[in-house]
């Protein structure tokens, strides 16, 4: 009986360690597979090289990093005000019934698979940019031209995809602000807008910040939707209507036909991506821990 219990406890301990083993294996296999290329090219040249021509053996991923960062930045520019606005709406403005409906809608948005977002972008957004945005832009600058596959398309779709993350984490942060703050602010003669913008949002800022970091991580790591609508041209972009190739999209697309050395280079991109994501997650967790401590 007693030995039985001990064995079971061991099995459960081992299961809990599965996550550690998984992260360790992922790290080892990505690094071992990608390191040879980084070692040969040199980390600096690999990250700052502007020429990505894998078939001729030149691996510079600056255009891919620029691609990933530009769509992510675009998504944040659209997603932060929208997401924080929605969070304020849910936590402070809407009544219970409306908030309930709205919450289900956000959950639904979070459940749509990324490949469906990509398909929607491909079939609706990309043609829409080609036929409506371009004529408008041409009034200002007649040289503008685009296929529609662009940073703009990627940013809009990504903004929708990171919205649920930003909203849910921000709502928790706003709800964690003590009721006293609101009452004190209103008692001092501030109206509801002033209470929200000058008291509640500043008090919830570290939680909102964490939501943004998490959203950013999701945006950089997103693959399918971006792959289908950004055009996949590994050149440094000059405007938001230019096509770009992202790190994730390049890996997903080129893995299917890559030669062995090209595959290694794609794993090397994986290393860079992995490091960025882990850093962002560590920052978000540290911020949330501080914010969790402050709220309680």
């Amino acid at each position: 009986m007693k030995t039985n219990e001990k064995i079971i406890e061991r099995v459960i301990q081992v299961s809990a360690a599965a996550s550690v083993a998984a992260v360790a294996l992922i790290t080892i296999f990505i690094f071992v597979s990608g390191m040879p290329v980084i070692a040969k090219t040199g980390l600096y040249n690999f990250v700052t090289g502007t020429d990505w021509s894998p078939t001729s053996g030149t691996f510079g991923i600056l255009p891919l990093i620029a691609g990933s960062l530009s769509v992510t930045l675009g998504a944040l520019v659209i997603g932060i005000p929208t997401g924080v606005g929605c969070a304020v709406f849910l936590a402070e403005v809407a009544n219970r019934r409306t908030a309930g409906i709205f919450r289900s809608a956000i959950e639904l948005l979070a459940g749509i698979p990324s490949v469906v977002y990509g398909f929607f972008g491909l079939i609706v957004l990309v043609p829409a940019i080609r036929t409506t945005i371009v004529p408008l832009a041409q009034k200002i600058n007649p040289d503008v031209s685009t296929s529609g596959f662009s940073i703009l398309a990627g940013a809009i779709i990504l903004a929708m995809m990171i919205l649920p993350t930003i909203v849910s984490v921000s709502v928790n942060a706003i709800n964690a602000v003590p009721q006293d703050y609101r009452e004190a602010s209103l008692a001092l003669g501030a109206d509801r807008r002033e209470t929200i913008t000058k008291v509640i949002l500043p008090a919830a800022k570290s939680g909102i910040f964490a939501s943004i970091i998490l959203g950013m991580g999701r945006a950089i790591g997103e693959t399918m939707a971006v792959l289908m609508i950004t055009g996949n041209v590994a050149v440094l972009p000059k405007s938001v209507l230019d096509p770009v190739a992202t790190m994730t999209g390049t890996i997903a697309m080129e893995m299917t036909y890559a030669s062995p050395s090209h595959k290694q280079a794609l794993f090397a991109i994986g290393i860079v991506l992995f490091v960025i994501i882990v850093l962002l997650n560590v920052i978000a967790q540290a911020v949330m821990k501080r914010f969790g401590g402050a709220a309680s």
Partner: protein, 274 residues
């Protein structure tokens, strides 16, 4: 007076933002469903694809999806539930637990394409499973593990301490208490986690596309190559194979994910209320 106008503008913007978000959802869902649902018929659901998927149905793809997600859920559930039991029932707070928890969080944040690369390097090449249902299922199992651990943990935390104390006071051992009292009393919460994991697995593309190959043939064993509905949708859309079949696949995928999430929510809500 100025204050009042500013206030009206502020709340106007908040309502506008909320409205735009709701509209975006309605447009995406509406567009896919309106275009796709009329294309879904008996032939689409019961026939195998012909000429690269431009004709016929998607029966082999549905079977492939069931296989891959089934393998993932069957493998991830026992490990994930046991991991959660460890965190809530066995672990005493300390460095080791903090480390394990940190790694679980890291695992949850890793993007799917990294899982795909890992699955390819480890399961497909290193373990020699080739592009197969097993390799894809294993990759997805690792990916949905954090979802199952987290949800199960939340469920276990809702079980009152008194249940455990009552069972232990009656002379039951720790494991007997966990397996006969604690876990059964929150099994719907655990089920929610498993269903959410299933939903994630069905919707996933990037991790699967690098590990299961993409064959359209009807799979027979877990060592066969296949494709899931998400992968099928990606390949149809990116290669412009057939508009009707693409819309139909997208609509079917949304409907399935929607049903899965609704079931998970319904069970989850019942747990909270009960």
């Amino acid at each position: 007076m100025k204050k009042k106008i500013q206030s009206h503008m502020f709340f106007g913007i908040i309502w506008l933002v909320a409205g735009v978000t709701l509209a975006a959802l309605v447009i995406i869902m509406g567009f896919i469903l309106v275009k796709g649902v009329p294309q879904i018929n008996l032939e689409f659901l019961t026939q195998e694809p012909r000429s690269m998927g431009s004709e016929g149905g998607i029966l082999s793809v549905i079977v492939g999806t069931l296989y891959v997600t089934g393998v993932a859920v069957l493998l991830a559930t026992p490990v994930g539930v046991a991991g959660a039991v460890y965190f809530t029932e066995y672990a005493k707070s300390g460095k080791i637990v903090d480390t394990v928890r940190f790694f679980t969080e890291v695992l949850a944040g890793i993007p799917s394409i990294i899982f795909g690369l890992f699955g390819f390097a480890f399961f497909v090449v290193f373990l020699g499973l080739g592009w197969s249902i097993l390799a894809g299922g294993l990759t997805l199992a690792v990916m949905i593990l954090p979802t199952i651990i987290r949800t199960t943990e939340e469920a276990l935390k809702t079980v009152p301490m008194a249940y455990r104390e009552g069972s232990l006071a009656l002379g039951a051992s720790k494991w007997y208490t966990i397996s006969r009292v604690v876990v059964p009393s929150c099994k719907s919460g655990i089920l929610t986690g498993v269903i959410l994991g299933l939903g994630r697995a069905i919707g996933e593309t990037a991790a699967v596309v690098l590990t299961i190959g993409g064959s359209l043939n009807m799979p027979f064993s877990i060592f066969d190559s296949t494709r899931t509905m998400s992968v099928h949708l990606y390949l149809l859309a990116s290669e412009g194979i057939s508009q009707e079949k693409t819309y139909a696949t997208a609509a079917l995928l949304i409907i399935i994910v929607f049903i899965i999430n609704t079931i998970a929510n319904a069970i989850g809500r019942r747990t909270v209320n009960g």
